[in-house]
Structure formats: C-alpha cells, structure tokens
C-alpha cells in the first residue's frame, strides 16, 4: 500500500519525511547524519499521527467518537486518553467563555464555506442551535453522556494534540526535530548546530507563493488559525468560517490569519483559535496574553 512507501529523503541537509493524515499534509524534519535513526523516528511519528487520526476522527466508523455520536443519549465509558481530551475541551470551553465548543460541528450542516455567496437559511441555523452546547453534555470521568442528536468533533484540537504527542515521543530519542502537521508545528529542539529552524507564515490569500513572515524557532509550538479560501462573500460582507457556537453565525471582523508561538502546539493552536473567535478584538486579546503572535488583519468590507 501507498502508506508504507514513504520514507525520509535528504533535503537541504535534513532528513524530511512526509505523509498525508488528518486531512492535511504532514512533515517531519530530522537533523541527524544517521539515516536509520531518521527513518525510525519518522516511522514512529507517522504511526502516532495515524493512531490519533484513527482514534479521534469523526469520519471513522469504529472509534470512540463514532460510538459517542451514535450512543443515542446513553453514557459511554471512555479510555484515559479520551478522558484527558474531554477535560481539555471542557477547559477550552470555560476559558473561551463558551466560544470554543467541540459540539459545534453540527453547524457544518448549514454552512458551506465555498467562497460563494450562498448564505444559509437562518431558520436552519435556529433548528440546529438546541443541539449544540458543551453545557448540555454530561462528563463524569470515565462516563460521557451526549444527548441524542448532538455530535462531538475533536477537529479543533486533534492536529495540535498529534503534534505535541509526536514531539513527546520523538524527544526521548533526538532533540533536533521539527514536526509540522498541516501548519501546526512544534520544534523539539533547535537544529543540530544549535541554530533555529526557519518557519515561513503563508499569506492566507496566496498559499505557498508569498510569505507574510519568517519566524526563527528553536523550541516550542507554533500554530496558525485562519480562513484562507474558506469564507462566504455576500453584499460585500465576508463571512469567515470561524463560527460562534452561541449564535451559529460567523464571528464578525475576524483576522484573516493568526499565528501564535507558545510552549506547546496545543496552547498555540487554542490561543490562535480563541483570538479568531474574538473577532475585531483579536489583536487586543493577543496583546493582552503577551506571547509572540503574527496577525494578518481582515478586511471584512471589501
């Protein structure tokens, strides 16, 4: 099968391994002269990313998310790892004042962000709202009870979690590693010669052709949240794909993209998402938090 043919290749003095997982291109950069070590670490990284994808993807039939979403209102006993993620999701819900909610995925049924001007029928959104809200679930470790008709989705956490987990595993063997799963990344340590990795931040409009920033990174997590090509445009109003689960409607005046540096990829990812959810207050929010960030301002009225 295709999956196993991937191996590391030598690119500009680094071993680079690539694969596709969690609907994103994934990349692991390993700075060691030893190909066997690089190959083994890369295999370990891919294995962990695929494990997390299998376990937490809502598109799979045989995993914990599927079981919870199809439990018909009955409690489901979850394993320790899932429990940790629920605790984390609960914390994010609290910290964002209810704006980050892993039960908000149902809104996808109403919203299609295809760059067109087709806005959903407000009534369709109204009928979805009663089935959305973390406050309606019952989470008593290890039992999780989801009211029938609701859905959970770890999409907003999964990639960042996979990056941090992979980093943790690889860090036991080598420090000179950079993990990048679909733009969410973590540097376990600097390059072998002690110099930082150079990270480019994509222009949200011209993907891969123009960089809006170049960030040197020795250690830590970096994540970007944005709406590149995922928006609706009607009557000169740009509807970002960042939805407020409390209203079912996009956050107004959200930045085009926010990149945050933090000590883990999960933190960076959540802070970037929270900033987007702050809409026009994103910059104020980020400045208040005091960690390094890069923001591409939105222009909602074109």
């Amino acid at each position: 099968m295709k999956e196993n043919q991937h191996g590391v290749t030598r690119e500009s003095g680094l071993w680079t391994g690539r694969f596709q997982a969690m609907a994103s291109p994934c990349e692991v950069l390993i700075d060691t002269p030893d190909m066997a070590v690089a190959e083994a670490l890369f295999r370990r990284a891919e294995e962990e990313a695929r494990r997390i994808e299998r376990k937490f993807s809502r598109y799979r039939d045989e995993n914990i998310v599927h079981r919870i979403n199809h439990a018909g209102g009955n409690p489901i006993e979850v394993d320790e790892e899932t429990a940790y993620l629920f605790d984390f999701a609960a914390a994010c819900y609290e910290l964002s004042g209810g704006k980050f909610d892993i039960t908000s995925g149902l809104l996808r049924q109403a919203w299609r962000f295809d760059g067109s001007d087709r806005l959903p029928d407000p009534k369709a959104i109204e009928t979805l709202l009663p089935r959305i809200g973390w406050s309606k679930v019952r989470w008593e470790n290890p039992l999780f009870t989801l009211p029938a008709g609701m859905e959970i989705d770890f999409g907003g956490i999964g990639k960042e979690y996979a990056v941090d987990r992979t980093a943790k595993i690889l860090s036991q063997h080598l420090q000179n590693v950079l993990i990048n799963y679909g733009g969410d990344l973590f540097a376990v340590g600097p390059r072998a010669d002690g110099t930082p990795w150079q990270i480019g931040v994509d222009d949200p409009d011209a993907s891969s052709e123009k960089l809006v920033a170049k960030i040197p990174l020795k250690q830590g997590g970096l994540a970007t949240s944005g709406d590149a090509r995922r928006y609706l445009l009607k009557d000169n109003i740009r509807y970002s794909h960042i939805l407020d689960p409390r209203t079912g409607w996009p956050v107004k005046n959200a930045p085009r993209s926010v990149t945050v540096l933090a000590s883990t990829c999960l933190e960076a990812g959540m802070l970037a998402t929270f900033a987007m959810l702050e809409g026009s207050e994103a910059k104020t929010f980020l400045e208040g938090e005091g960690m390094p960030f890069w923001l591409v301002a939105g222009d909602s009225a074109l």
Binding site: D87, Y161, L271
Partner: protein, 419 residues
C-alpha cells in the same frame, strides 16, 4: 471574569495535563515484532553433545506494554564424569558405554569397577514468558514465568521486576524477586546419600526451591557510555544432591575399593556482584563485564568477559569475545575418600565443585538481510581445566546460527540484562 493573562496560563496548565499521559498503545496493525530463530550445536570432545533450537519472540503493544516468549528445545547425549575413579589396574580399558541413566559397574580382571563416565541421552524443552508494562512514566514492571522439562527433571518458576528511572532517565534502579521449584526425578527414585552404589535402595523424588533477589543500578554516563551494577542473593533449599554423582573410596595405592553416592547440604545461599560497562566509539562498541560470586559452600568465582564489536561496511560486523572464569573448590569437594577415614556428612567429587578454570574465545559475524532481518553466526571454543589436574581437560566447541527479525529500533546500548 478571568483576567486575560489567566487564559494563557490556564491553557498552559490544561495542555500540560493532556500531554502528561504516557504514550497510548498503537493500533493492532502497528504492533512491532522482534523474533529470533537460532540453532546451536555444543560439543565437548568425547563427552556431551547438545543440539539446541531456540525461538524467541517479543511484541510491543504500543509504547508501554510488551510481551515476550522464548522456547528452547535441546537434545543432549554423551557421557559426563560421575566422580568415580577408574583406577590404574583396569586392564587398559579406558571407558565403557552403557544405556541411559545411571553409572554401571563392570568387571575387569575379577574386580568390579565403576565406569567414571555416565552415558546419557535426554531431551529438554523449556519455555519462558514475560510481560512488561509501564505503570507510570518512569516506572516499568515486568512479570515472568518459566517452565522446563527433561526426562528426569521438571522446573517451574515465576518472578517480577520493577524498574524506575530517575535523574531524567539517566539512572535506572531495578529490583526483582523470583521463585523456582525444581523436581529431580531419576528413574526408580533418588539414591540414599553416602550409600554404596551397589545398594539398590531408592527414595522418592528430590525437590528444591529457590528464591532469588536482585537489585541493580544502571547509569548513563554519557551519550556513548553506560554502566551497570547488579547484586543478587539466591537461597535454595531441598534436594541439592546430584543423584548421578559418585565418590570413590581408595586404598593407599589409589585404587578404588568402594564407591558411594555423593551427599550435599540441603541448603545453599549464593551471592553475586556484577558490573558491566559498554562504550560506543563512532562505530565500534566495546563491552566489559566482571562477576564475583560466592556461596556458603565455599565456592568463590571470578568471571571477566570482554566483547568488541567491529563494524564492517554496509551493516556487516565482527564481534570478538574473550572470557575467563576461575573458581575455587567447595568445602565439600574431595577427589576421593581414603579407606578407613570417617565419611564426612557432605562430600562430592563432582568436578564442577572443584578448582576450575574456563577460558573462552569466540568470534561472531553478523550481516543484514534487508532492513529488518539479520543473520549471524558465532563460533566459540571453551577449555575447562581442573586446576588440581586430576580430571582431563574438557574441550568444547560451540557453533550458533541466528536469524533475527525486528521492527524495533533499539536506541539503547543494551536492552536486556545479561543472562
């Protein structure tokens, strides 16, 4: 409302909690395997020949569980010294052969003599299994069991080990405890200690129980050097006598006049102190080990072991091995008893309890077969010498071929304690 600053800090705490878990198990199709198949041929010149097949398997279940299984099958045949003295006036007969089991008496020129070599054939099958689990990020438990069967010997055992990492995983402490229960069951029963060999009286089976305690410290000194110290204490009680061993009573001319079954104490405690260190050069690896062992039967032994692995091109390697073993005799060891002297309570003429020196030299050659397979062949020559020069030297040739398969990449300089 929380202040803005607290969101970042609270998030950091929450993320840290999520990531504090030990890595979760991988899915079934990605459990890595490690397997070895090996065949070994061991021959003592004019004595015992052993042919052994070993299959071992290890499977990791995610990164915090693993199980292992090892099955060994031996066929043993040949003759081993039983302790009897043949005497000089044996009419030129050096040895005789006899069917399996016990010593035999032969008549030479009107007097009866015991053949100093006991012929035997046996098959031995043994299985060992182990299960390892990470209990906590730095704490690993290992449970093991073993069983083994021969025609006249059964063995069952179980044990457990706990390892904890300290000091950023640079130091590992290991504590272990194991039990073994062995049954000695010669055909017809066990002889009565110190009875004449001609006496047909036999007792029931012999049973012995062993408890072993282990404590070890392993320390990573640098990225290329690791060292380890283990202390063990073992206590055995029960039937420790060898039912096939004999001691001769000799007259002043040194001719055997009588032969008695040997007799050993019903308990033994044994201690070892073991140290080893390994160093990685850019490619080659040197490995040195020393063991001091002492027991309450008066045996003291020293073992020095040196291995050097020399990397050739394309993953091929050569490994040289030198080993020196020296042992002082047990208090109960006597070559023979003098006619008329009072018979000691415990006495054995088993050369393995005497003053022994064993020297070993060997060479191993390994070559990769693809990415995950390796073939290696090892040849060793051992010479066992009786320091009192009363038994002939034993020359041993050992040849072993091994085919290994592994999905795992071993980052450690060594992954298992030595046998």
């Amino acid at each position: 409302m929380n202040g803005k600053k607290s969101i970042r800090n609270a998030l950091a705490v929450a993320a840290c909690t999520v990531l504090s878990q030990t890595p979760a198990p991988a899915s079934a199709d990605e459990f890595p395997w490690k397997a070895d198949l090996s065949t070994l041929y061991y021959t003592e010149k004019d004595r015992v020949t052993v042919s052994e097949s070993i299959a071992s398997l290890r499977r990791e279940i995610g990164s915090d569980e693993a199980f292992g299984l090892k099955v060994t099958f031996d066929t043993i045949s040949g003759a081993s010294a039983n302790g009897a003295i043949f005497g000089a006036n044996a009419g030129g007969v050096q040895t005789v052969t006899s069917p399996s089991g016990a010593s035999r008496t032969i008549n030479i020129g009107g007097s009866s003599r015991i053949d100093p070599l006991t012929e035997f054939t046996d098959t031995h099958i043994a299985a060992q299994f182990a299960f390892e689990k990470a209990l906590w990020r730095t704490l690993t438990a290992r449970a093991e069991g073993n069983l083994g069967f021969e025609n006249d010997y059964d063995s069952y055992g179980a044990g457990g080990l706990l390892s904890g990492d300290l000091n950023h995983r640079l130091t590992t402490l290991t504590g272990g405890l194991s039990f073994n229960n062995d049954t000695v069951k010669p055909i017809g029963g066990t002889p009565v200690a110190l009875n004449r060999v001609s006496d047909p009286t036999r007792l029931g089976l012999g049973e012995k129980r062993t408890i072993d305690l282990l404590f070890g410290v392993s320390q990573v000194i640098s990225r290329t050097t690791i060292t380890q110290v283990n202390v063990t204490h073992g206590m055995t009680d029960g039937y420790l006598t060898d039912p096939y061993k004999i001691i001769s009573v000799v007259d002043t001319a040194g001719e055997p006049v009588d032969n008695l079954f040997e007799s050993r104490p019903a308990s033994r405690s044994r201690n070892t102190l073991f140290w080893r260190t390994a160093h990685h050069f850019t490619e080659d690896v040197i490995h040195f080990a020393y063991r001091y062992a002492w027991d309450d039967w008066g045996i003291r032994s020293h073992t020095a072991d040196l291995r050097y692995r020399y990397e050739l091109a394309r993953g091929h390697y050569l490994q040289a091995h030198l080993r020196y073993y020296t042992q002082s005799a047990s208090d109960i060891y006597r070559f023979s008893l003098a006619e008329g002297e009072p018979i000691p309570l415990f006495v054995s003429a088993d050369y393995r309890l005497g003053n022994l020196i064993t020297q070993t030299a060997g060479l191993k050659y390994g070559l990769p077969l693809g990415k995950k397979m390796e073939f290696s062949v090892r040849a060793e020559y051992l010479q066992q010498t009786d320091a009192d020069d009363r038994f002939p030297k034993v020359d041993v040739l050992l040849v072993q071929a091994t085919l290994s398969y592994s999905d795992l990449v071993d980052y450690a300089l060594w992954s298992r304690p030595p046998p």
